[in-house]
Symmetry: C2
Subunit: 429 residues, 2 copies
Amino acid sequence: MLEKRIPIAVGDAVAHVMKYAKHGEVERVPLTESYGRILGEDVVADHDVPHFDRSPYDGFAIRAEDTKKASQEHPAQFEVVGEIGAGSVFTEEVKAFQAVRIMTGAAIPTGCDAVVMLELTEGFQKDEKTYMKLKRPFQLGDNISFKGEDVKQHDVLVEKGTVINPGVAALLATFGYSTVAVARRPVIGIVTTGSELLEVHEPLEPGKIRNSNSYMIAAQIMRAGGTVRYYGQFADDFDTCYEMVKKTMEEVDILITTGGVSVGDYDYLPAIYEKLGAHVLFNKVAMRPGSVTTVAEVNGKLLFGLSGNPSACYVGFELFVRPIVQTFLHRKQPHMYRGDAILMKGFPKANPFTRFVRGKVEIVNGQLQAVPVGLDKSSAVSSLADANAFIVLPGGTRGFEEGMTVTVLLLEAEQGSEWPWKEPFQSYK
Amino acid sequence: MLEKRIPIAVGDAVAHVMKYAKHGEVERVPLTESYGRILGEDVVADHDVPHFDRSPYDGFAIRAEDTKKASQEHPAQFEVVGEIGAGSVFTEEVKAFQAVRIMTGAAIPTGCDAVVMLELTEGFQKDEKTYMKLKRPFQLGDNISFKGEDVKQHDVLVEKGTVINPGVAALLATFGYSTVAVARRPVIGIVTTGSELLEVHEPLEPGKIRNSNSYMIAAQIMRAGGTVRYYGQFADDFDTCYEMVKKTMEEVDILITTGGVSVGDYDYLPAIYEKLGAHVLFNKVAMRPGSVTTVAEVNGKLLFGLSGNPSACYVGFELFVRPIVQTFLHRKQPHMYRGDAILMKGFPKANPFTRFVRGKVEIVNGQLQAVPVGLDKSSAVSSLADANAFIVLPGGTRGFEEGMTVTVLLLEAEQGSEWPWKEPFQSYK
């Protein structure tokens, strides 16, 4: 009567899914719309920075050798022969004991090889000419930002796959990228099943609950960098759901269904996979919550069957869907950031399956601490709001004590991990 | 000839600015467009969760007392009198040695007080009736999720000022928020000045550079949660800039100008402030980069005069503009997240001013480590792309050694700090 499912290790399950990970195309967007997107091309310098020797201060451009004998008692004296605002250039050659008033960012005039800051000089007028004096020697090159000292032409400054943050935006502008190639966001369909589900605007009825999974997953998709296509919620009916899934698979890059994956009589997704001719990668994972998570593949497209239970659904998304989305976006570290943290509450009871406990990670005295949030019953939707990490408690025969170092996976970190699934998540016996 | 400016401590400067911080209005948006916005109202439970006693598993609902004598040798035997799918209800009362087949999430029928998981039972047929037997006793309440055990009606689940993450989205859906009140994003104007500036699409010219600050600040505004209104770049001309600033101040919540704040001859923003009748909060801060950062106030609106130098501009934004934006959005911890980290490179040279060094903070063995990135010359735009933190080196007479614990301010953390400016940033003598 009941199908017997064989659980596989979380690490193995992720590895199976990642075999189908692929890079998406790139598309060009205006620089002004690129914030937060992922670079689809390397950012290359189209010129040296600075692209001319320039002054980092307001002051005077001079020849250093003219200051050799300058001192408190015997200041060196310069005739001010002109001035250069930022953006303009001084076309004459500067000669001995001549100075040019120069503004921050302006080009050093020919002949000059040092800049003296304005506050170290004293100006005066004589015979209708302007002079400046200074009281100490300067070295050749003092206070000059040299051509190419920051960046050399053709340097690769930021690699494809990097998030466009404000610093990257500044570089793109500096090097003339008025449009920029970014990774296309994958289109991710959501099909929610469950006869017990009400729409958000509907009043409650006996035995029913409002559909929260769709909105949660939609937000998870956006956080991971995808575009949401919501197909609606459907009653537990084989024909309706089969037609819906079949149609949807053609319109999206990735499809997520929620509900219908358990072994209960009403859980008909396995039959849908069969009729679709889908290749089921796995239908049981040695983890809690989310052990019934099922992933299948049809013509190279992934079909994620997440649990209808909110917490299990949430965990399933972050473990299996997120790295697929991030790889599509050309991210090099597509998995959640993995770190170590001190466990602030014990979990004395052992569990054969690896647990992903919703937790809050905080930095205390430079050290990560992990505190479980809420009840951590798999039905406890309220704790998901507070969580910023999963506390990973490997399955086995022992419990976990307060003060132990445990693995945490961060939910909100921009930084990712390359392959966080070393032992003890790699195998399950 | 030169105006003498008195530097004030970073902490004092931030405190001055924060006197003018205010909360913005709230607006309603559809739940589907609320991801990443800030809650403008508390999320309150409109019902208990579960709002009926329900089964967390597929199995059978029974009366626990009927299992008292069940054992391997003498299984208890139940007549299966019906079944309940998720979303439906069983209307009859269940009597002694009767069981109801129940699906995950379905309501416990009247009379039952425990659920037995499907895999612990064995079904059989007799006299055209369906039976089930089980081999161990169950306690009253076993495998039942009780009404209200997760959330009680009227509970405040998430407070105003919280970012809407996937977990919060799930709660909003569960409690019927098809629209949600969120904090309005402040409109922030950008006016860039500098005769040396070219537009991004223009080819380079001698003495000129492309305008990168506008794009950088636009991205910083988006990261902080504001809406960008870009007014363009203008040559260093008093009349043009005065008219621009005056007009702009009426159209935005906050105005940022870049360039024109130094003491050079072409830096005429001080004169603009005077003509506007602005109250200048400060025009010199004991920090590097960004010491010339100027903040003024006109009729309660803030006017941020950031340096034209990219790094100084970047730092000025994060220190002074970010907390104003975050307060407008009702965030309770509006400043950058402050943590401690191990300094991975020494800064032997002392500096009287507090330095904000662009750095990369990483978690290594559960401990934060801070590595400076790039040259950290204030002109070095390339390092801004790699930075995810400022390493704070307080001003004074000593340098900083590798291995010391230093304060870091995180740039990409969603979490903030309430008031990170304790000593040594609070005072400057």
